[in-house]
């Protein structure tokens, strides 16, 4: 499917508003859209809404053999998936340029920046380590996927807990959540990416561009940073030329944004932690927006089971009164290992091709054919069971 094309009219209007330092959704130049962070039942699940952009992530772990180069370190695998749900332009299982870029950037953001302790994931050096998988799904694409993906990935990693392992020499036991409380990963810092869109040869910039702004932008600068103002990666794309001044300004803005977002994530994590501690049963139904008329809820309810058995028996009995009129066919055997039943239409497959393994090659087929004719007795509609024809 194709995306709706951008009309000249929209393009011109967008550029004009940007020149007037306005944005379509009423934001200021440096404003982020609303960020909403939701957690689920499982540890390591997180859903992030960045305006209308929606992404979700699930962290899981499994036991694996470590890499030979790093025998005492755990492994981290990140997978971003662009669900065809997110945009009509996305196709399932297609390695698009955007997907490759997002995957690569997320990997740089999390793995290369060493944001959590990989060594604590080692169980037996060189033999068994934890492999942490981050599965990110993009569910609705309204621009700035990179920032949304980086927020959801680091938040779900911070939320995740892995089973505890006790080691006795070379032997180890993995404890279930009932036996021992699962333990969180030790996160050193939270790298968060901040995207800047540039327009008019870099004379205007916007933070957190949405889909239509991304369509008219000339260049993009992504800065990933943690709250200690340490830059984890910078990526510029689109072939714009930026002044040193502009980059430093962006990194200043990024540091403020990262601080805000980190605080937001911490708060959300704290809230969830408290809710779990108070044993507030999480429910997805509770997380539905109550004020919206597009949402609806229904409490659990019993079902009257009284006469179910009678209804069922009745149906069965009724069917048994008129038993199938179709008589059973009796099988006919042609040779050791070959037989047939029924006499509906016969197939284009002769019966004999597999059983003829002996005989002279030359005249074989015809000889066999004639010989066989007398052999096969087909019993029609017979109720007798013991008629077997053998060679």
């Amino acid at each position: 499917m194709k995306d709706t094309p951008l009309s000249n009219c929209e393009r011109q209007f967008l550029l004009k508003t940007i020149e007037e330092r306005k944005r379509l959704d009423g934001r200021e130049t440096y404003d982020y859209r609303n960020i909403k962070i939701t957690f689920g039942v499982d540890y390591g699940f997180c859903m992030v809404d960045l305006g209308k952009t929606k992404v979700m992530s699930q962290v899981s772990c499994e036991l694996a053999t470590p890499k030979e180069t790093r025998p005492s370190e755990g492994m981290l695998f990140t997978t971003v998936e662009l669900s065809p749900m997110a945009s009509p332009a996305f196709e399932a299982n297609k390695q698009s340029e955007l997907l490759v870029k997002l995957n690569r950037q997320l990997e740089r953001c999390l793995r290369t920046s060493k944001c959590f302790d990989m060594e604590s994931l080692c169980i037996v050096s060189g033999e068994k380590v934890w492999r942490i998988n981050v599965d990110v799904h993009v569910l609705n694409h309204d621009g700035n996927l990179m920032d949304a993906v980086s927020i959801v990935a680091i938040t779900s990693l911070s939320h995740f807990r892995r089973p505890e392992v006790s080691i006795q020499g070379q032997e180890f036991t993995v404890h279930t959540a009932e036996e021992r409380d699962p333990i969180p990963l030790s996160i050193y810092h939270m790298p968060i990416s901040v995207s800047f869109a540039f327009f008019q040869q870099g004379s205007y910039l916007l933070v957190d561009p949405n889909d239509s702004e991304e369509k008219v932008m000339e260049g993009l600068l992504v800065i990933a940073m943690n709250k200690h103002r340490e830059i984890c990666f910078i990526q510029s794309s689109g072939g714009i030329m930026l002044l040193k001044k502009q980059v430093t300004r962006c990194s200043d803005i990024a540091s403020v944004k990262v601080l805000e977002i980190t605080e937001l994530i911490q708060k959300a994590l704290e809230k969830d932690r408290k809710a779990r501690k108070d044993d507030d049963k999480f429910s997805f139904a509770e997380s539905l927006p109550k004020e919206q008329i597009t949402a609806q809820k229904l409490k659990e309810a019993p079902l009257e089971k009284m006469d179910i058995q009678e209804t069922a028996s009745e149906i069965i009995n009724k069917a048994n009164i008129s038993p199938s009129t179709q008589g059973e066919h009796s099988p006919v055997l042609h040779a050791g290992g070959v037989g047939q039943v029924g006499e509906g239409i016969t197939s284009s497959w002769g019966l004999e091709e597999d059983i003829e393994e002996e005989g002279e090659m030359e005249e074989k087929t015809t000889v066999k054919k004639t010989k066989r004719k007398g052999d096969v007795i087909v019993i029609s509609d017979s109720e007798e069971e013991d008629i077997v024809v053998l060679n």
């Binding site: 997110a86 309204d142 997805f284 919206q292 008329i293 949402a295 609806q296």
Partner: protein, 220 residues
């Protein structure tokens, strides 16, 4: 049948849904059954690839995305079930040579996942405003080791059961559109489960109706 059993396991868990929650798809819905949650998005009628074009009806594609890892053979089989159920409900001959795509994303599986997929699919198709001859809903039943039939089971109940059945029921005559079973089932058990599902389906259809009423409540 004593009344206490109902308290042990409710026939249906808490339901929730939200329609039109995604901005990009033509129709979207999330459906919640207890802790099971599925998100659905629909695009179409849209442009169809020439290789997939059908001259007298729309081409429906269904994609089920698991939460962890990539989809495999099990998802393919489920997609087939959902697709053929939707095809029977949709009046696809009204949009020939076009494509309809339905994407289902597992958000959390706590039992009855296929049923929840069907419910989310139906809600999303309704939201997209695609013409349908009837609605459908999904209900999962399991038979516990004691022989008790439990509707809308949790993952735990599914694991402890000896047999599992998922049905799709149509909204007009409450008949069986889709059936997928696991485990060995006696004929009596099957018919009981169908009868129970038919009864449970009425609640789900009422829930659909209430949701739509609420959604259109502000348009007079």
């Amino acid at each position: 049948m004593d009344v206490n059993e109902h308290e042990v396991s409710p026939a249906t868990r808490e339901f929730g849904c939200e329609q039109n929650l995604l901005s990009r798809p033509d129709g979207s819905a999330t459906f919640i059954q207890g802790n099971t949650n599925v998100l659905a998005g629909v695009y179409g009628p849209a442009e169809v690839k020439v290789s997939k074009e059908i001259y007298d009806r729309a081409t429906l594609e269904v994609l089920i995305q698991p939460k962890i890892g990539l989809p495999g053979v099990r998802e393919r089989a489920r997609e087939q079930c959902v697709r053929e159920t939707c095809e029977a409900a949709l009046l696809s001959s009204l949009h020939p040579r076009s494509s309809l795509s339905l994407i289902l994303q597992e958000v959390h599986d706590d039992g009855s996942l296929l049923a929840c997929c069907l419910n989310a699919a139906c809600m999303a198709l309704m939201d997209a405003g695609l013409p349908m001859s009837c609605l459908f809903c999904g209900i999962t039943c399991v038979i516990s080791t004691e022989g008790q039939i439990i509707t809308d089971p949790t993952l735990q109940q599914e694991k402890e059961s000896r047999a599992q059945m998922t049905f799709a029921i149509d909204s007009i005559e409450k008949r069986v559109m889709m059936s997928s079973t696991k485990g060995s089932i006696s004929v009596q058990e099957l018919q009981e489960a169908i009868a129970l599902s038919q009864r449970a389906s009425e609640r789900i259809f009422q829930f659909y109706r209430d949701s739509v009423h609420r959604r259109y409540s502000k348009i007079q």
